[in-house]
Amino acid sequence: MTELHDIAQQLPSGLPSELPLGLAPRGYVGTIHRLAAGEAASALPHDELESRLIELGFVEGARVEILHEGILGRDPIAVRVDNVTIAIRRREAMAIIVG
């Protein structure tokens, strides 16, 4: 439970219990609840976007942490997914619902 406590302290107050990774601030730590490719305005078809995310390890239950973000529009973000660091744009990260 101390882990949850740490997270709560890092977050600006008022973050909902479930949110798209694309909106999360740097330092956010959470778990993937589900993928919602329909909610990202990506150029890719939904199924394709979902497949790519899964292929990079973004599956339900995986622990994610936003390590870094770019300078323009805080984009892209570098996300730790279990043991790997993946760079991804916020636009596509909108499809990853975390909590």
């Binding site: 993928l35 490719a37 990506s42 150029a43 890719l44 199924d47 976007l49 979902e50 497949s51 790519r52 899964i54 292929e55 990079l56 390890g57 599956v59 339900e60 390590l67 870094h68 973000e69 770019g70 300078i71 323009l72 529009g73 805080r74 984009d75 892209p76 570098a78 279990d82 043991n83 790997v84 660091t85 993946i86 760079a87 991804i88 744009r89 636009r91 596509e92």
Partner: protein, 618 residues
Amino acid sequence: MHMALVGTPNSGKTSLFNALTGSKQKVANYPGVTVERKEGFFVTPNGRQVSVVDLPGTYSLRGRSPDEEITRDFVLGRAKGEVTPDFVLCVADSTNLRLTIRLLLELKATGRPLGLVLNMFDIAKRRGVTVDVPKLSASLGVPVVTSIAVRKGGTAELLRLTDEIAAQAQPQTKQNQWRPLSASELRATQREADRIIAACVSLPARPDTWSAKIDAVVLHPVAGLVVLLAILFVMFQAVFAWAQPLMEALSSAFDSLGQFVHDTLPAGLLQSFLQNGVISGVGSVIVFLPQIIIIFLVILLLEDFGYMARAAFLMDRIMGGAGLHGRAFIPLLSSFACAIPGIMATRVIDNRRDRLTTILIAPLMTCSARIPVYTLIISAFIPEKEVGGLFNLRGLVMFGLYAAGILSALGVSFVIKFFMLRDYQPAPFMLELPDYKLPRLNSIAIGIYTRAKMFLQRAGTTIFAMMVLIWFLASFPQPPAGAADPAINYSLAAIIGKAVAPLLAPVGFNWQIAVALIPGMAAREVAVAALGTVYAIEGGKEAAEQIGQVLATKWSLATALSLLAWYIFAPQCASTLAVIKRETGSWKWMALTFAYMLALAYAASLATYNVAMALGAG
């Protein structure tokens, strides 16, 4: 036996391929290094001959980009005129098994015999990862071995396994049932993979703290960009400042050689051929070897360290403003060494428009073949001066030329974005950022050696052949007896040069430059060699003066600057054009590249020359 190496990007397939076959294929620490199929051979401890094919890394067999399609087609036996592998070896990065094991489960549907190599086992051990290999093998139903591709003897287990497989040599019986997996099937496979990993692998949470610490600075939104700029600046300064002593040594060695030939051989055609054609021509290019080594060294170090993917991350949105994709950064940075591997590396970009844009602008990056041209002119015309007590004026001009190349590339990409390939939505950028690795001396040395060898081979073949041609054109026909002008004025070269010169007069080029530009179509540095030969012959048979000193007396500053501007854009590299044709599959794009670069070159030179003349640099 035919074996194929498949695995997620950056898992060490090529390292393993090199270790097995003794090849020297390119290895570097970022995803997407290998973009071609490469075959090699080795003999197992029991004396069996095995053919092994190294393939581009991929996360699945779906084949989303040209490099992944190569892997898919080879594994599925769709590649025309190729054998189908009778054994597919899945290569995993042991510190990150999830994605490879999912890939392996997907590969089972192909029906081909499979094996799994847990590579980078040294790193996994250091991080405290333990794997129950027999259990993993039983759960997956395929043989599993560990390996350390970069260590001597690190492939012993794999060799043993290969022998066992080869000894069984049962013909492949199962049917290929592979088809692209739907998202839910992928998810199920990943779940299955995660379940197997949970049962067989213990992953203590000991992340790579070094990578985290370095990234805190390197990926910082502001500090990261400062670091990136500093790296580029040092790289371009280094090209000029650090190579100087070695270059001078080489240059005087060639001078003495020329002098020696001059003194020992009787005056005549043979003496002129060796002294003016071979030594002044080819020598004037070889002198630049140290600079070319430096630029390759810096790029190799960045690649091996694991910086390239970070730079792509930092630049993604910034380049996006000019209509470029983040994945374009690595190909473009490699193009500073040479545009050809740069253009090949665009195969990792899955969106066709992004890929085309990158291919079109890659030749604008200042490749190492321009270094001789730039250096020659800068040393002849720009005074050696300290600026601000820290920088060298010549180094700054060099930096300016690099910057001009980059800026014009961004400009061209911007124009393409707006006018040509408009129906476009930004393709996603998703890239694995690998952990940093200490660059390995051995692989750096091999990288440098390969590049230096290629450069010298070029000097010995293309450039030499062009020199023979130039020397011939500049020496024949011989002047009539009692002619007053220098002999070269009667030669074919002068006739051709003077015919072309009017076209180039508006940009301030004389006929000697015109002569040098024509064979310079083969490769940029040939122009330097050609100038060396033309002026050496024109200068008469006296001891060879250094070409730079000759230019300083014969050209105006305006002409020199104009030629520099020309070379920022000039499409003068036959091999690059050929690669563009091959990679885009059309003459149209090749012709377009040639035309737009030529137009820019002429416009830039015209502007530079006229401005310089107006400012009194005539």
